[in-house]
């Protein structure tokens, strides 16, 4: 058994919140650079060159990559041989979010659903716990912006709709979203289990390195097909017309109920932030 004091978790989460908001992951940066080369529209090219320059400025700590520093989504894989001491694990994560958003000069974006009063410290985060073999803890912080999250959806298709129905739904969703989610986007698709499981799979799909295909060759083919269809829409960077609307489509699939075909689409903007640490 390994003992970990929860204060270590607080420090780790705080640092991850800050780093995620200032340092764009290198795979995302590379994908945007490639997109700049590929983009045919001059307006689209100008947008992509600004995005790349912005990433450099954020890295130098001029300001966060985006003013929407996101709702903190935290994925925790906890080795089953780990024992936490020193207080509540959940509270330690909350404290990490408070500290990170304060010390990193990050925007606090959580509020009451109806009065819209700002909570003030960006809590509560969304936490996904998973128990895995071993004595390590893996923490991923993926701050999620509202603009792209608002363009996401879960829908319960009929089994008869099949794969074509799923593809159609995804492409239509991206078409309707237009420039709202700050294209070029990354599209996470989740099909599996129940209503909430499919949403979780779609979210998790966004954590994959950009453009890394699903190991299943058939699914990888589906990903390529959806990506191609999305990029034919002509939406382009920021929705001002162009050939690069999405950088990648990541598809995750699991068995479903015999009566159902849940389909979730989680859209991420080009500020596809995530940072991780293994303790």
């Amino acid at each position: 058994m390994r003992v970990i004091d929860v204060s270590e978790i607080t420090e780790a989460v705080a640092k991850l919140c800050i780093d995620a908001n200032y340092d764009l992951p290198s795979d995302v940066y590379q994908a945007l650079k490639d997109a700049y080369e590929r983009e045919k529209s001059p307006v689209g090219k100008a947008v992509l060159s600004m995005i790349l320059e912005n990433a450099e400025l954020a890295k130098q700590r001029v300001a966060p990559i985006c003013q929407d520093c996101g709702l903190a989504v935290v994925f925790l894989e906890i080795g089953q041989d780990v024992h936490f001491t020193g207080g509540s694990l959940k509270e330690a994560i909350y404290e990490g979010v408070r500290k990170g958003y304060k010390e990193g000069y990050l925007r606090k974006s959580t509020c009451h659903p109806f009065t819209r009063a700002n909570v003030g410290d960006n809590t509560p985060p969304v936490i996904h716990y998973d128990i895995v073999p071993g004595d390590k803890v893996r923490i991923v912080v993926a701050p999620k912006g509202g603009g792209s999250e608002n363009m996401s959806m879960v829908t319960m298709l009929k089994p008869a709709d099949g794969l074509e129905g799923v593809i159609e739904t995804v492409v239509n969703r991206v078409k309707e979203a237009g420039g709202n989610p700050c294209p070029p986007i990354i599209v996470g698709v989740g099909v599996g289990g129940t209503f909430e499981r499919s949403a979780f799979l779609a979210k998790k799909a966004l954590l994959r390195p950009v453009g890394k295909p699903n190991p299943d060759v058939e699914l990888a083919k589906v990903e390529r097909e959806i990506l191609e269809r999305i990029n034919k829409l002509g939406i382009g960077p920021m929705g001002w017309g162009g050939t690069v609307t999405a950088l990648a489509v990541h598809f995750e699939m699991e068995p479903v109920h015999i009566a159902s075909l849940p389909c979730a689409i989680n859209i991420n903007c080009h500020v596809a932030r995530h940072k991780e640490i293994i303790i």
């Binding site: 307006v43 600004m50 912005n54 237009g178 829409l233 929705g239 500020v271």
Partner: protein, 186 residues
């Protein structure tokens, strides 16, 4: 891509009429910030017959909720937020003389029509470029609704703030034009 046009606020009808969808514009001068919560309050103030926190005539509202300023800087990251949330409010302000909005994404048909009827323009700024855009903001000051935090109304002094004309006052729409040009059927 259109030419680069330099504009200084406040804007006149003449300034607006020469802009076309797709033009790159660099804005200098004073602009104001506001998001949904601030707009809601402004419209409520109007309904009660009260004054707005600033006179919208000839002005531009930037849909932004900046992140906190780091020490020594006027403002934190300050890129645009999604504009459709302001659809219920923008037409009333345009009718009162507002000349421009800066945001991202589509706005409503009603907003488009108001741009034509009252000579106003919807500008787009590049979303997710908060650090870069913040460098074009030289001064920032909260002038109303401080309790809204990032959503408070701010008076910004900007220099060469880069935007593109999305809806012009002649019915032009950059999104429509762009998508038509790059869409591949089938």
């Amino acid at each position: 891509m259109g030419d680069v046009i330099k504009l200084t606020t406040p804007l006149s009808d003449e300034d607006i009429m020469k802009l076309k969808a797709g033009d790159n514009v660099l804005i200098s001068g004073v602009i104001y910030t506001g998001r949904d919560a601030a707009h809601k309050r402004m419209i409520q103030a109007l309904e009660r017959g009260e004054e707005l926190p600033f006179d919208v005539k000839g002005q531009i509202i930037y849909y932004v909720g900046p992140s906190p300023a780091r020490p020594g800087r006027p403002v934190g990251a300050a890129g645009p937020t999604t504009s459709y949330r302001m659809n219920p409010y923008a037409p009333k302000l345009i009718a009162l003389g507002l000349k421009g909005m800066i945001g991202k994404g589509k706005m409503s048909q009603e907003v488009k029509e108001h741009c034509q009827k009252y000579k106003a323009v919807y500008f787009g700024a590049v979303g997710g470029c908060g650090a870069l855009l913040s460098q074009r903001i030289k001064k920032a000051e909260v002038i109303a609704y401080e309790d809204l935090g990032p959503e408070a109304v701010r008076r910004l002094e900007v220099e060469d703030f880069p935007v593109i004309v999305v809806y012009d006052a002649h019915g032009g729409d950059l999104e429509e034009m762009g998508i038509k040009e790059y869409r591949i059927e089938g």
